[in-house]
Symmetry: C2
């Protein structure tokens, strides 16, 4: 996802308005590696801007996702998560605390795949599930 300044320009260029709510969310998401949910982002945003509505958070995140500035992820943790990292990457999720981290996978061209007959595949996502270091240690 681009910088808040770049997004401000991009929004105006598209005829979209730049509101304080949007700017705040630009800042909160830029470089964010926590893969937050709309709800958790709403919590954080509320601290800096009491009165901001959850609906606006959903709306803005979905707009950014539509514009390709961030990816929305359904990792099976109940709520959709948002990732400003739009590089080609994948994710690992802790089954206990739902912590999410980015994972980079290479060599997937060498995979041998059966069953895609006729499907026009546009996206491939690899999801790793398990326990994060902290939770793995706790469960010993």
């Amino acid at each position: 996802m681009r910088s808040p300044a770049d997004l401000t320009e991009a929004f105006r260029a598209h005829g979209l308005k730049v509101t304080p709510q949007r700017q705040l969310l630009f800042r909160l998401m830029h470089g964010n590696e926590c893969h937050p949910t709309a709800e958790s982002l709403f919590q954080t945003a509320s601290e800096q801007m009491p009165g901001i509505s959850l609906r606006t958070v959903y709306q803005t995140l979905n707009d950014l996702a539509t514009m390709g500035e961030l990816r929305s992820l359904d990792l099976g943790t109940g709520a959709v998560r948002f990732d400003p990292n739009i590089d080609d990457h994948h994710h690992v999720v802790c089954d206990r605390c739902s912590d999410v981290r980015d994972v980079y996978v290479s060599g997937s061209d060498a995979l041998s795949i059966q069953g895609l007959d006729g499907f026009a595949v546009s996206n491939t996502s690899i999801l790793f599930n398990g326990l994060c270091p902290r939770c793995a240690a706790d469960s010993e």
Copy 2:
């Protein structure tokens, strides 16, 4: 997933009761390659057993999943899907009609993976998204 007859024995062996509702669901899921949701299975079951409740369908499918007789899949299509195929395999989903098919992937040992630092990975799932042959043809 094992045959209805085998499941009947297995349930009794575990002290679980074998009801007509469960037996119907055993039959409907055995060899089922449609990856149905609880709701769609409920529709089918209702035809053969009017009055069966959606709650029972959820309950039974979850029990079977817990017993390892089938897998529950969150493929991002809104509702969880159930798959009696418990082989090591993956899935491709049509983004338009939500059709799901099994995909077999081999050679994943050769993948080079960065970012799993410390995670104890217990499961890896690969999800392909795109258009099924029918939808791809329709959109030309």
